[in-house]
């Protein structure tokens, strides 16, 4: 039956390695090796070193080098409330920014999928925030846009009864998230737009003939079609935003107080201002363990994306 054949056929052009000889196997593996070795050396070795230092007391501004301290670094990190709050803040900030950016991205993609005058130009305008350097975006928002005394936003909002709000001190958390959303919405828009344009025209026509209105068509057909694209956007957005550093460093410097201190900023401070390599390493190890837990869920999502790919 054709059904079974469809599902089990190898992915696209791939030719299955079947009964290949040793030589043949190594020939296949050879092109993969440089990238594999490079990735292991550059990304995995530093983590092993991190693990090593997490059991050492090592302040790089002090002479004497590192010495073994057992788990005291971990004790310190676990009892440090600012680490826990940085961890929570990183997760919530990423989640809010990614979800809002995705919702906006879907709406903008639906808009850009319509035919209208100057659509190409509008798309160009919308993708620009993604292209702009995050450091530049952060500085422009914190200065010309959000400054309490001369910022453009206060001027734009003045008719609505907003007067010289010091956004970065009164609404620091929200301001940082807004900039993250502003930069990542275009990315989501592009992915969703590609998804929309991949939807078969005749399916939409069939829905019309079947009596579905625009909302029913979107809810019943377009949204399920977009699902893998949405999952992918959320995944990539999370990967990049959870390590976002520039906005925090350049807009609020983690403050006021520690109200916008995220995990990357916490680690940056520990290395650069507390000179505490051991403590930073321990915090890093904990971060990595938590990431692995989250990532294993994310990888399951990837596995679904692959299934989707093969089923096509």
């Amino acid at each position: 039956m054709a059904v079974l054949e469809d599902v089990t056929s190898p992915p696209a052009a791939g030719l299955r390695p079947r009964g290949a000889s040793r030589r043949e196997k190594w020939q296949r593996r050879l092109p993969l090796l440089p990238a594999l070795v490079y990735t292991i050396v550059v990304t995995q070795v530093p983590f092993l070193v991190t693990l090593w230092y997490s059991f050492q007391s090592y302040f790089w501004n002090e002479p004497g080098g590192a010495h073994w301290t057992g788990v005291s670094n971990y004790k310190e990190v676990f009892t440090d409330p600012s680490f826990r709050s940085a961890l929570v803040r990183s997760v919530t900030m990423t989640a809010i920014a990614v979800v809002v950016a995705m919702i906006l991205g879907v709406l903008l993609a639906l808009l850009l999928d319509k035919k209208f005058l100057g659509r190409g130009v509008v798309r160009t305008l919308i993708i620009t925030p993604f292209l702009i350097m995050p450091a530049a975006a952060s500085l422009i928002w914190s200065g010309p846009m959000l400054d309490p005394s001369f910022g453009l936003l206060n001027w734009l909002l003045e008719p609505f009864g907003v007067h010289h709000v010091a956004w970065l001190t009164t609404h620091a958390y929200g301001s940082v998230i807004v900039v993250m959303i502003w930069q990542w919405t275009p990315f989501m828009t592009l992915i969703i737009l590609a998804g929309l344009q991949g939807q078969a025209a005749d399916v939409l026509e069939a829905a019309k003939v079947d009596g579905a209105n625009a909302w029913a068509t979107f809810r019943e057909l377009t949204l399920p079609h977009l699902r893998p694209y949405i999952e992918l956007g959320i995944l990539l957005g999370s990967i990049y935003l959870v390590t976002a550093f520039d906005q925090v460093k350049l807009m609020t410097n983690g403050g006021p107080g520690t109200s916008t201190t995220t995990l990357p900023f916490y680690l940056y401070q520990k290395v650069n201002f507390a000179f505490d390599i051991g403590g930073a390493a321990a915090a890093g190890v904990i971060t990595v363990i938590l990431t692995i837990i989250v990532a294993s869920f994310a990888l399951r999502m990837f596995a679904r994306v692959f299934q989707f790919e093969e089923a096509r």
């Binding site: 059904v3 469809d6 399916v203 069939a206 003939v209 079947d210 009596g211 057909l221 399920p224 089923a311």
Partner: protein, 390 residues
Amino acid sequence: MAGVKYVGVSRVYAKGAAPAVDALDLEVKDGEFMVLVGPSGSGKTTALRMLAGLEPLDGGRIEIAGRDISDVQPKDRDIAMVFQNYALYPSKTVAENMGFALKMRRVPRDERDRRVREAARILDLDPALLDRKPKQLSGGQRQRVAMGRAIVREPKVFLMDEPLSNLDAKLRVQTRSQIAELQRRLGITTVYVTHDQVEAMTMGHRVAVLSGGKLQQCASPRELYDNPVNQFVAGFIGSPAMNLVSAPLADGGVRLAGTVLPLGAQVRAAAAREKLTELVIGIRPEHLHLHLVGEAAAAGGARADGAELAGEVLLVEELGADALLHVRLVGDAAVADGPAAAEAPVVGGTPVVARAEGRKPPAPGQRVAFRVQPDDVFAFHPQTGARLAG
């Protein structure tokens, strides 16, 4: 249930371009199976899409059951459509696909289930497939689901856009008769688009032949075959196609392959009225009656009852029950030249296809002769292509 009426319907895609559909007038009776047939670019699919409401009208109006629906949304036209690539909803199961239109009309779930199962039963669709996704189905099963999605609706009109073109040849023939039978049983007015004239002839109560956006002829299959109104219809309907040859007028007929092919008096009169010196004549392959050259010679002067067209067989296509002869008509002179000429390859002459009995067809290279009844010869105006009344 209801009839469909196109009144002066036109569609122009771009300003200044030739209309895709040009002032189409066509009436489909209640319960009728109407086939729109034509080559690609003939406007048949556009005409169907305008009836579905997927394509706006640039002129004229379309009525369903006597109501002008030209400006009505597709969902309010009470039609169902089967698309060429089926357009199944990939994220929905087979049952959800078939029940989607009912869900949109807020039909209660158990009523929906009942009707979906009923449709699956009518279509011989295995109930085990109802929970699968379209991706997991074979081509033939997908086609059935697309049909099922249409019949669950119990609409006023079925629209079908080349629904068989993605099936393999054997399944296509099988499904062809199933659809025709289903339509007869349900008695729902159906407009069916195809480029395949065999499908058109076997399925339609009536067939509308389109070309270049214009309706050429709309008639029963038999009438189209026996009485094509112009050269296009004559050449398009029938397989293998009618032999169409232009030939100069001669006394009592036209000159073809070294002999005079007699024509009816009415045709000759019509040609004279139009002051023509040349005609396009058409002969269907089965109307070229084979005489082997040897037999003709043995029969002596028995050639008085009709012209005899002589030529050489180039190729024989054996179909089993009968055989198709590809022949170059070269006339008596060449045939009479004897063995020397037989060895030389035939150059020039008029290529024709003839249908012969399958048992003992002549071999390639053999000289043959055909007889043609004057009544079986169609004549067309060489410029307009219109049939000269016969």
